[in-house]
Amino acid sequence: MIRKPARASLALAASAALLISACSGGNSASNPSDSADDGDAGAGAGGGTLVVDTAFSLETGDPGRNYVPTGSIVLHAMYETLLTFDGDDESTPVPALATMEANDAATEFTFTLTGDRTFSDGSPIDADDVVFSLERLAGMESSKANFLMAGIEVTKVDDTTVVLTTTEPSLQVPAIVTNPALSILNSELVEANGGTTDDTDAAEDFLGSTSAGSGPYVLDQLDLTSQVVLVPNPDYDGEKPAAYDRIVVRNVTEPATQLTNLRGGDSQLALDLSGDQVAGLGSDLDVNSVPGAQSIFLLLNQDAGVSGTLANPAFAEAVRYALDYDALLELAGDGSVEASGVIPPMFLGALEEGVTQDLDRSAAALAESGYQGETISLRFPNDNPVGGVDFTTLGERVQSQLQAAGIQVSLAPGPFASEIDPYVDGTGAFSMWYWGPDFADSSSFLPFGPGEKVGLRAGWTADAAPDVAALVAAAKTATDPVEREAAFTDYATAMQESGAFVPLLVPARHFASSGVDGVAYNSNWTVDLTDLSPAE
């Protein structure tokens, strides 16, 4: 029990504390960017604060360990790669820290560092930094991004030249090196803080508090659950200086809240809105809706041990031509497109046209397939919408369209975490999934081929479709860019005509912004923060 004099003392003490507070430091309304260690960072940017709302998939501040979207968004602003993409153009990598030349066999890629570029601590970037960064990724087997360096050897030629070598022709290497996981780190700084080129590496904590790159921004704060704060790199000497004094990327999981924040002026950019949400926005907000890089598809297992008598191409064909793709597209909103094959529209070899519903053809194929009217179960993850497309709603529409074509379907939704197992193990007979590229290159879609990673998940072996398997091999080993495009087009065409997969949609990515220029979608880093600037 507190006696009256004590209560009075307590009240006095609290008042005094606040009064003292009012006369001291800390946050100041006129000095919002009062970070602890940004030094003179921020001087000269002059763009104020940019607030970006997105649902976090953020696990680390270490580029070499990152393979999730939000991580790529923030790391791409702090670190640079040897090559990059220009805005939303993912057709051809362009020079960033280096220029590149490939040999005719597409097995040697020579990178030459451009200019006298420096890291954020002022130290120069040289070939040792490149070798260390790439060997670190290759050596850290516990890194989720480790597979990107599979089969790639790194060799230093001189202080400004590095060669990446592969045993097989690999024209995807230029696209791979644009991935933020292959960012070039300040090797001296990282090594001094526990960095190594194998799994003993202990630099992750350091890189979670201090950036060691050469990008226009440096790390000010990183909280994996709430926000990442970036401030300008005072020693940046590249071509895209920071436009903002401070960028705050916040974890806002609810799209409805993202939209409210944007409308209320609490943020300037929302990255996870659905088609329905952006459709109702007025002219006061800018909307950017473009097809994303992820396709939603049906998988029809060709393994008789899994699908029984329905493990045949004819049943897959019956499903393929039974669907009304335009009606499915209605669920995805503006900017989404029908999947014209397994390769999304922004990539080399993508087809112009998708499949058109043909109920007669479907009926003929169904009769040939041996289907006896049994109910087949459609499995899908129901807790992970892609581009705002809800899988349950899409599944219901697929179910009704197939039923109209005489195919009885029951829906079997489940959480992603439990549904991914039968999908990966190849034990699911009929399922609906999505696929995004591992890196921004058409070779990321070759796994759908027979005998390949995703093909085998559908019980589709190379022996079952040798012609298509040959097209996969041709696309993999093409050494000439023109031949390569033709090979991918042939592969996509063959995949559209037959096989275990029925691509449905490429949902759009919808960004809404207020007073921001330069907003564009790129599958590598979602949105390039270094391209953003206050609207003119």
Binding site: A145, R250, T257
Partner: protein, 353 residues
């Protein structure tokens, strides 16, 4: 009674209280061990491969990465061995490492729990204060207009979905009226305070930062309001019932017969008599607030325990899920323990029984 008898009686009462406290502490420890077993068993029985969920498609096809993760998290060991390892680490304060972020779960919880505790504490204080006033008022004005109004208010608080209320409140007070700040714990222009308690308002005061304090306090208002509405609904009905019971008791009638003023009767007799059931319900409500804020945290982008639990669950991050389960279990046990101890202090019959 002699002075010796009085001292002996006091000693007896003290030792009874100590025995009671010791009993409750031992029971809590045993219960906590039970919680660890249940949480561990349940999380390992969840269908799905945590590695596939955590690594994603690309990395889960890389044998080297899968092997490294399997070894690091001991996923190839028999379940009993994993449980014993988990338990031995737990006794050293180690809740394991998150598969998703590879950071210590204890460290991540130490960030998430204070964020939720801050809104839960404010919500429970506000809820108890409002519910005691409304419940007492309703009991005093039983079956009159005031009682009916309070019952309607309580019913609304109970029946309106919290998620919908959060959206509504946020739209109204932030977007339409501009009276409240945006989402999160702090405005984007401000930096968080140095971490001392993890409660921003307290830490800003300790740091001597009034701008930060008022900003953090302003960000608390809407989530606290939404969380309080439901809790007020529950507690008001409970207070009303408890007060009605006490109102008809002999000692209240005796107090009035002695000529005590009504405010004195309320504070010294009525509320004290009704305090035990109210205390029980407050404890349960507080536990619910700490562990059931997922939806409100999602709407207000509040990086608390609910958000952390949801992320852990959808990513099948077993160590993190177990950490959350233990944290929630511990919170409930502590609340029960505190409530039981307060019972023992407030009502001698409890400890002597």
């Amino acid at each position: 009674m002699t002075r010796v008898d009085t001292a002996a009686a006091a000693r007896t009462e003290r030792s009874a209280l100590l025995r009671y406290v010791a009993r409750r502490l031992i029971t809590s420890i045993v219960l906590m061990l039970g919680v660890t077993l249940v949480v561990f068993t349940l999380t390992t029985l969840v269908p799905g491969d945590p590695l596939t969920a955590a690594l994603g498609e690309g990395a889960s096809q890389n044998p080297a990465t899968v092997a490294a993760y399997t070894e690091r998290f001991g996923l190839d060991r028999p379940l009993p061995e994993r449980y014993l390892l988990y338990l031995s680490a737990l006794f050293q304060g180690d809740l394991g490492t998150s598969i998703r972020t590879t950071r210590p779960v204890a460290e991540e919880l130490s960030r998430a729990l204070p964020a939720t505790a801050e809104i839960a504490l404010c919500a429970i204080v506000l809820s108890v204060a409002v519910a005691v006033v409304l419940g007492t008022l309703a009991a005093y004005r039983r079956d009159r207009a005031t009682d009916q109004v309070v019952r309607v208010v309580s019913l609304v608080g109970l029946s309106v979905p919290t998620f919908w209320m959060a959206i509504l409140v946020y739209q109204l007070f932030f977007l339409r009226l501009g009276w409240a700040p945006g989402s999160g714990r702090l405005s984007p222009a401000l930096n968080p305070p140095p971490r001392i308690t993890g409660l921003f308002t307290i830490d800003f005061v300790l740091d001597g930062d009034p701008v930060g304090f008022f900003d953090a306090a302003a960000h608390l208002v809407l989530p606290v309001l939404v969380l309080s509405l439901f809790t007020i609904g529950v507690l008001t009905r409970f207070v009303r019932t408890s007060v009605l019971e006490v109102l008809s008791s002999d000692y209240v009638r005796a107090a009035r017969a002695k000529g005590l003023s009504e405010p004195r009767v309320i504070t010294s007799y009525l509320l004290r008599g009704a305090s035990l059931p109210i205390l029980t319900m407050t404890g349960i409500a507080f536990g619910g607030l700490l562990s059931g804020t997922v939806l409100v945290e999602a709407i207000f982008a509040w990086p608390g325990l609910g958000t952390y639990a949801y992320q852990a669950a959808i990513n099948l991050d077993l160590p993190a899920v177990m950490g959350v389960g233990l944290a929630v279990g511990l919170v409930y046990l502590l609340i029960n323990l505190v409530v039981d101890l307060l019972y023992g202090i407030l009502d001698p019959r409890v400890r002597l029984g």
